[in-house]
Each structure stands twice: as C-alpha cells, then as structure tokens.
Symmetry: C2
Subunit: 401 residues, 2 copies
C-alpha cells in the first residue's frame, strides 16, 4: 500500500528478524534467554515512589512543562560527578540528555553519516546499532574480536583500507552480544589509531557500571587527547530502562549540533523522568543500588556458566564476561544456530541466533544468552533443555560424517 510513497530508507530497515524471534519467546511457558532486560525485581520501586512524590510536591509544574533540549541541569551535574569518578573529566556543557542511549545512535547517524559512509565496528556488534546506522544507509566494516575485544592490527588494516571511514563504533565494556571487554592496552591503542587516521570513536557504554569481577578499566574517552570520542551511556541498566534516559558526552561543538537534531527529533527528553532520576540520586544511594544489581548478576552469570559446563557438549565454546548481561556461545561450524533455535522453541527455551549481530558476515554457528532477567531455577531448567537440543544437533552432525 502506497509503496511508491516510501523513502529508500525503508529498504534498509525492515521489521527486524529479532522482533519476530522475541515474539515467539513471549509465551509464558518459554524460558527465554533472548532479551536483554534487567532483573525487574531489583527496580527500586518504593524509592522511586518517594522521589516522584517529592518532585510533584516541590516542582510539579516544572516537571510537567516543556523544558530545554539540553536536559535538566541538576541531572547533568550528577552525571558529570559520576563520569569524573570513572575518569572522564567533563562539564554540563558537554552533555546532552537523550531518550535512552539508542537515541544517541540515531542522532549520531544523523549527525555524521552520509549515504554509503563507512562505520567500523566490532564483529559481532549490537544489532540495534546496525539498524540505527542502516537508516542512514551506512556501510559496515567488521573488525575481528577476541577475548580482549577488537583486534588492533585488524583495526589498523581496516582504517588503512577505508580512509574515508567516519567513525569506529565500539562497546568496550561487556559488549553486546559477546560480553567481552576491550583490554587497557587496546583502549590506548584505539585512541592512538583514531588520532593517526583522523577518525572519530563512538564509545557506547551501557554496561560498564555493572562490573562484578576483575579490575575496572577507564573508558576509552579517558584516553581521548583530541576530543574525538563521542561517549554514550544510559540509566537503563543501573536504574530503569522504562524511563528512557541516556546521555551523550562529547566536544561542545558536537553537542551544539546534536542539540539541533534532538530538537527536530522530539524537542527534549521527558522532564518528569529526568527530575525523578535526579531526585533519586539526591535522596538515595545509586551506587549501593548498583552493588545489589552486580551481586545478583554475578550469581546468575555463574549459574549459567556452571550449566554450560554441565549440560552443553564439550565442542561448544563461550565467552566469560566479568560484567554486563550476556554470554556469547560458538558452536562447531557445521551447526546453524537458527535451526537449533527452531528446535529449542518447540522445547520452550529461547536465545538470539547470532546472525543478526553481524552486519555483513552472518556467522551461522553463534548465539547470545542473557542471564540478568531470570532466577536460578529457570536458568538451570532452561539450560538443561538447551543442552539436550545441542547434544541432539552435535550427535546428528557427527552421524552425518
């Protein structure tokens, strides 16, 4: 209907395959490791009730009125304080509040990408970032990753063969989908390469605060000597995703341009949600809340890895994240994870087949598991079912040879 009226963008952005996957997993009997949802029982509902009440009593009118595109200054000030502790020394003038960090990806596409411009990214990478940049008809150059994140030699080759690349898109901490973290030396090297080859870095960091093992690492932006790093983050994983609150931290000239595009896109981010979050940070202890999240996720990650050891065939390998929400699984190359998925769904267990996380390559033998959203009991039962299906696939594959 009216197909002649649609823009060419509609060719790049179909209804995503992942949405169809998630729909299948919505039946209550399915144990789903597919989504990337925080543990809902940890949301500080009672404290948020106190914060809401305080905001509506003290500044209800301002919370409900139009406000500035840049965002609520006390909240931006609180973010500045948090960023300083992480090693990013910045000011409110370098911060724009956005409707979740996903909007940061869309606005970044708008700000930087012309048709057919190249984005250099990890292989695999966050599928909704692929979609956000595809809206602007971007091309992707994937760089191999290992347990320490993006391979710097391969990155340098990619920069040499793609001198017009606009930016490197990276999720350095507990990456989606792999759970892997970029090592300290590679962080420094990435900045050095960006300077040398005159390319920007878009550092997407939704999970960095959820480190439950190993040593904390400073963000890439900590090493940024030429203000080339555009840093995106969010309250979704440490507070509430439903409120849709993220931020961009970047050079002031970029922020001014982002503000113009943000204003054309949705005027400003929900004022009430911004004030609730600022009030919560003022009245309660966000860091203590994050400690609770970490403890629960650490435990669930361990339960899931124990289950992999116990239930999965030995040929299956996996990442060992020190934080975040995801484990990445690789099957022998002969196995297609979409076929595994079809059988799993019949056994009421789900994950996300890995293909969607590769903009070009489509490695068929991978999948992503989420452990944050599920109690132990269900993790164990779901992984048992998944293990059975994997055994059946690996045996039948063995039998074929």
């Amino acid at each position: 209907m009216f197909a002649d009226k649609l823009s060419t963008r509609t060719h790049f952005v179909g209804t995503s395959e992942i949405r169809e996957v998630l729909k299948v997993t919505e039946k209550p009997e399915v144990i789903s490791f597919a989504g990337g949802l925080p543990a809902p029982e940890l949301f500080p509902v009672e404290d948020i009730k106190v914060a809401c009440d305080a905001i509506l009593t003290e500044s209800g009118v301002e919370a409900l009125q139009y406000s500035t595109t840049e965002g609520y200054t006390p909240l931006r000030q609180a973010i500045v304080t948090r960023l300083k502790k992480m090693g990013i020394d910045t000011t409110v003038d370098h911060l724009l509040m956005i409707s979740g960090s996903q909007q940061g990806l869309d606005l970044t596409g708008k700000l930087l990408l012309n048709e057919q411009d190249t984005v250099i990214c990890e292989s695999p990478t966050y599928l909704a970032a692929i979609n956000a940049f595809k809206v602007y008809n971007a091309s992707f150059v994937e760089v191999e990753t290992d347990e320490d994140g993006m391979n710097m030699e391969k990155l340098e080759k990619a920069l040499q063969t793609n001198p017009q690349a606009k930016f490197i898109y990276t999720i350095p901490d507990f990456q989606n989908p792999t759970g892997r973290t970029l090592s300290l030396s590679r962080r420094k090297k990435m900045v050095a390469l960006a300077n040398q080859y005159n390319v920007l870095i878009v550092e997407d960091n939704p999970y960095g605060a959820i480190r439950f093992a190993g040593e904390p690492l400073p963000p890439i932006k900590h090493f940024d000597t030429e203000e080339r790093v555009i840093y995106l983050s969010t309250f979704s994983k440490i507070f509430s995703p439903g409120l849709r609150l993220g931020w961009i931290c970047a050079h002031e000239d970029f922020i001014k341009q982002y503000v113009a595009f943000k204003q054309a896109a949705d005027l400003h981010t929900d004022s009430f949600a911004q004030r609730i979050t600022a009030k919560y940070i003022e009245l309660f202890d966000l860091d203590a809340h994050i400690e609770k999240i970490k403890a629960v996720y650490h435990h669930r990650r361990q339960t899931m890895i124990d289950c992999i050891d116990r239930f999965f065939p030995k040929q299956v390998t996996h990442s060992s994240p020190e934080g975040g929400l995801f484990i990445w699984v690789e099957l022998p190359e002969s196995v297609n994870s979409r076929e595994v998925f079809e059988v799993c769904i019949q056994n009421d267990v789900a994950f996300v087949p890995g293909q969607a996380f590769f903009p070009n390559l489509k490695k068929e033998n991978t999948f992503r598991l989420n452990y944050s959203n599920m109690p132990d009991r269900k993790i164990i039962e779901g992984m048992r079912r998944l293990g059975q299906v994997l055994h059946s696939f690996l045996n039948s594959n063995v039998a074929n040879f």
Copy 2:
C-alpha cells in the same frame, strides 16, 4: 572542529533562529508572547500524584521495565475511544505511541522523504515541522492561506505543478502560527484532491481539542476514503508536554514501518509516562480538565484581542482564532517584524517574528503571539508596550514617505 566528519544534513539544520529568540526572552523581566507553552498553573499536579502512586503500587515493575515499541495498549485503547468521539473510527493496531508529536514529524520525514522530495504545506507553517523535514533535505511548496485555512485552488495548482510531491502537511485546527482553522468544505476538498493527485496527507492536530468558540469540525482523517491520511496528535496541550507523549494514527502498513523506524530511533516511548497518563484517564475526567483549559484560554484570547483593538495601530491586522494558543499579526508591508522585535526586547516584551514560519517566502511583516502562557495582568501590560513600539514604527515609516 571535525567539520569534515559531519553529514550534509548539518547544512540544512543549524541551531534555529527561534532558539536564539527564545533565549533572549528568558530573562524574568521580559513579558514573553514568544513560546507556545500551555498554562502551567492548570497542570493537574495533585491528580498526577495520585496516578503515579497507583501505577507504582499496582505495576511499578512493568512501568520501569523495557516495553513494546507500539506503546502501552490500555493507553492506545483510551486514545481509540477519544478518536471515535471526534469522528475517527480506528483500532489500536493503527496507533503508535511516540515521544511527543514532534517525533511523528521526524519519523514521517524518515519514512517518506528522499533527498529533494517535495512537501506541500501551508504558508506560513509550524517552524519545527520545517526543521524536521529539512533534516531529510525536503523542498517545500507553500500554499496560500486565508481565514479558512489553505486555499484549495492554489493547492490544486501546487499538486499539478508538483506531481511528485510526497504529502500535504497541514495543521487544520487553530494552526501554528496563524490560529486559523480549515473550513469543513475545504477538508472534504483536500481529501478529494489527495485522492485525485495520489498524494498523502499528514494531518498534525495538537490543538484541535482546545476549541473554545464556534462549531467543532471533524478531522480531515474523518473524510479519508483511501487511508491516505497520517494523523498526528499529542497529550502536550491537553495534559502535560513535559511527559512527551504523542501518537500516530495511520494505515496498518504505515504503522508497521513507523514501528521499525521508532525502534531504531529510541526503542519505545517512556513506559512510566504512558502508564501515568492511562491511569489519569481511568481515575479522573480528562474532558472536564480540558474544559478548564478552554475557559482560561478563551478568556486570555479575548484579553489579547481587546488589547490589540485598544493598543495597536489600526493598520495592523490579526487572525481571530476559535481555539488553540496563537494569534497571527500582519503589519504593513513596509515594516520588518525583526526590527520591531529588537526594539521590543529593549522594552522587555517579546514575540516570534514571522519569517521563521515560511520555508521559502520569508514575509518580513508578520509575527506570532501566544496567549496561553500568561495571566491577564501581564497580557495587558505586554500588549501596551508592544502597541507603543508598533506606533513608533508606523509613525516613523509614515514619516519616511
């Protein structure tokens, strides 16, 4: 800085002139008729407190978690009920919740506009719609308007000379900036012309519910025989703009595409804000609340028009809105409203010079007045100052000849 990294879109969307205007008007001593803000003292703060408390008690976890891109179904159901009363017979499958109706403009640009595609619009039109479509490098064809809205003969000529035009963008009710309303016969005619010339209509209706005089008219979408009308509206003017809640009502095929773009843009609209609004509609009487808004705006509109009669030179003409937030003023052609603005600011009174509302034509002798955001006392004092400045301009202009 990094100018070589920016997309060509940045050429079309600078920081808008209007933002600079609004910054000047932010000083507390300025009486500003510049913004388009609802009367803040009417926000139902205490009732919203009750709704928040109920949501956090009954479904706090769901309100704070990720949710579906389409939006909260009970809220969409409530909108369906409201639309039915206005003459739009639809279902939740034809509705997408968005982050304010401004996002509807951005998503519409994304969905429909290729580079240099033509948008047919009223002359003048909403300046943030111009900016939203300019992001996608649209061209604009302006159609003359009078007290009954867009001129249909001129519209037909525009359709004939621009057969590739993608859509007609119109604000039929109490238009921004003119306050004018498209007549009943022209609504029917616009649909007939859209059918005949195979073009879509984007009906932007943020103000329609705020009718305080004259007879209600059905939306253009009421007359839509071929599902060509994409209808945008919002809770900003009837409930709270700070919560950033709007909706798109359109053919299901369009909604599916909008959902894909919305998901890439910001995943979904704030779940908590959606549930607060649905709960408010369930517990309280939104229509009774709108009646209060209408009574106040009707009174303020009358105060402002009385002041025009009393303080303005007789050569100055103005629109006579039966609803909404704005009055449009035309000066003799020799007077430039930007120069008037400069003098007004020195006298601590402000408006928006009309130029920004014309994508191409830039009529210099017009400006927009807002009456919703200001108590009587301030309206009278501000209009007195503005009248003085206009008299000085018209006398000096007379003296020049």
